[in-house]
């Protein structure tokens, strides 16, 4: 182990990951992707005319799923299985609903406030439960969802609407100009505006994911995930890092919940705190490839597309086929879509090398 003459000298630059280069590449991709999102509504309209309204709805759902998946993956990177994403989604939705119903608040205040309320709830829950390991944390978060739902249901009906829920005002009311536009264009404009809002949130979620991936937080998160004790002995503060991932993730989901409340026009406890939301939040990144930015993104697009196709061709019972597709893909692609692409490109590379 002594320094021998043949040992090559290691430079600091050889060890530090090419973070800056990687980061600027990721930022350029994000910018291109944001540009595509910006032109998507116009493009859809030019291509499909009236049908673009429903394509935009599909687009909104896909973007919402991507936001949910990306934010859940942030928590997963620290080795925690959160089953509370429905709680934060619902908290965001109810924040804006209760705010508009009970106070003379500006229409848009609920969006940032929804994120803040969800983040604060996550801070409280995380401070108490992130010391728990693995399955115990997961159970605590699942229980938390039920508790928040019960509390919202039991609030006085005048405040939170009880089990019947609350109506939420839409964020956009495009006005119909007879003679200058057609009826469907109202729906198109409405969807277009929502699409831009959702896309904006998605870009934020992508940026957060990329920045975590290209900073020393990645080191800390991965170390904690793979061996928390050793990480701690090497100077990483496990509780603080886990809490950081959890709070950021939950705040993003809170904003998403608030957006959805406005778009859908109402919130009810069964919908806002549906276990379904939590299931989607974890299935999508697993399907796409955990601990990556591209995996959850790809999976959200892919799964939304499959779901829509199945819904149109099968109507009843499409969920059974959809479920089967999920189970089979996860069984055969343990590292998700990202792992599948890696395998294909590696094989091609290897074949390329074999040729003289």
């Amino acid at each position: 182990m002594s320094a021998r003459g043949s040992v090559p000298k290691v430079e600091a630059a050889d060890v530090t990951p090419r973070r800056r280069a990687g980061l600027s590449r990721d930022l350029i991709f994000t910018l291109i992707f944001a540009g595509l999102l910006l032109f998507a509504p116009t493009l859809l309209r030019a291509l499909f005319g009236q049908a673009s309204v429903s394509y935009l709805s599909l687009g909104i759902r896909a973007v919402a799923l991507a936001v949910l998946a990306l934010s859940w993956d942030l928590v997963a990177r620290t080795g925690q299985l959160s089953l509370a994403h429905a709680a934060f989604y619902g908290a965001g939705a109810y924040t804006t609903a209760i705010l508009l119903k009970n106070f003379d608040a500006p229409l848009w205040l609920g969006l940032p406030l929804g994120g803040i309320v969800a983040g604060v709830l996550a801070l409280g829950l995380g401070a108490v439960t992130l010391r728990l390991y693995g399955i115990y944390f997961a159970i605590a978060t699942l229980a938390f969802t039920e508790v928040v739902k019960a509390v919202v249901q039991e609030l006085p009906t005048a405040i939170a609407g009880g089990t019947a829920g609350v109506n939420v005002a839409p964020l956009f009311r495009p006005t119909f100009v007879p003679g200058e536009m057609e009826r469907w264009e109202i729906a198109f404009l409405r969807n277009q505006n929502y699409f831009y809002l959702y896309a904006g949130l998605l870009v934020v979620a992508i940026l957060v994911s990329v920045l975590v991936q290209r900073s020393r937080l990645r080191s800390a998160f991965t170390a904690i995930r793979t061996n928390e004790f050793v990480a701690s002995v090497m100077g990483v503060n496990p509780a603080r890092n886990k809490l950081l991932g959890f709070v950021i993730s939950s705040a993003i989901v809170g904003v998403l919940g608030a957006l959805e409340a406005h778009r859908l026009g109402s919130v009810i406890p069964e919908g806002a705190f549906a276990v379904h939301t939590t299931v989607l939040a974890l299935v999508t990144p697993i399907f796409g490839g955990l601990y990556t930015t591209i995996g959850p993104l790809l999976a959200a697009g892919f799964l939304s597309g499959i779901e829509e196709t199945l819904k149109r061709s099968l109507a009843e019972g499409y969920l059974i086929v959809y479920g089967a597709v999920l189970v089979i893909s996860i069984l055969f692609m343990p590292r998700g879509l990202v792992g599948l692409f890696d395998r294909v490109t590696n094989r091609r590379r290897r074949e390329g090398e074999e040729r003289p």
Binding site: T16, A231, M234
Partner: protein, 243 residues
């Protein structure tokens, strides 16, 4: 020479079992200090108490004058305590360099990215792991894993380095290299505390030796002193020579 590590009346019990009892010792600055003793004597428990994986039932641990007995492991690391594990535990999914970088980035507070890179590179070079920096840790052999274990600990810039049986499982020639490495680390001003079963290594390396048995201090002194102590011979050396 002042004491880098001052342990006073340290106790740790697991239920009814007293794993460490009334243990007191000082490790001086720049010293190589060995803890030996039969299996189950409480050596690894002591090291876990020092690095913070276990919290003592009672007693005091001072690192360069600062009380650390109740601090979590990462705080102790920030204060200058490094640790290499007996059972090597590299982070999977990472390369050798990424493993070492974790220690360099978080071992001390306020280390810049460039400085962390420098520290990691230095730790890799010292442990002759430079050529393997991009190797996934799954592909390392035992000696390389042990070197990585030490490299990671060194990257945290420790003032006191705890080594838990780093020689175990190494061939004699490899152990000799490891001994040289530990010595060179000390020569750079790092205080070393190590647990070891291989007696020639203890003889070659240790300035002073603490012999433990049943969680207690049996004797402390130079290698020659403790091996001449009848209590030690009875409890430990006599037994191991019969093996």
């Amino acid at each position: 020479m002042s004491a880098d590590l001052a342990v006073r009346e340290l106790n740790k019990s697991f239920g009814g079992l007293q794993a460490v009892s009334d243990l007191s010792f000082d490790v001086n600055e720049g010293e190589i200090f060995a803890i030996i003793g039969p299996n189950g004597a409480g050596k690894t428990t002591t090291l876990n108490l020092l690095s913070g994986l276990l919290t003592p039932t009672s007693g005091s641990i001072k690192l360069r004058g600062e009380e650390i007995a109740q601090l979590p492991p990462y705080r102790r690391c920030h204060l200058g305590l490094g640790r290499a594990f007996q059972v090597v535990q590299p982070f999977p999914e990472m390369t050798v360099a990424q493993n070492v970088l974790v220690g360099a980035q978080f071992g001390e507070r306020g280390v810049s990215g460039a400085e962390a890179g420098r520290r990691a590179a230095e730790a890799l070079e010292r442990t002759a792991m430079g050529a393997l920096k991009d190797t996934p840790v799954e592909d390392l052999n035992l000696l390389q894993e042990k070197r990585l274990e030490i490299a990671r600990a060194l990257a945290t810039a420790p003032q006191v380095l705890l080594l838990d049986e780093v020689m175990a499982g190494l061939r004699p020639a490899e152990a000799k290299q490891a001994v040289e490495l530990v010595r060179s680390v000390r020569d750079d001003g790092v205080t070393v505390v190590f647990i070891e079963h291989v007696m020639p290594v203890v003889r070659d390396l240790a300035d002073r030796v603490l012999v433990m048995d049943y969680g207690r201090e049996l004797a402390t002194g130079s290698y020659a002193e403790v091996t001449a102590d009848p209590k030690v011979v009875e409890a430990y050396l006599g037994e191991s020579e019969e093996d």
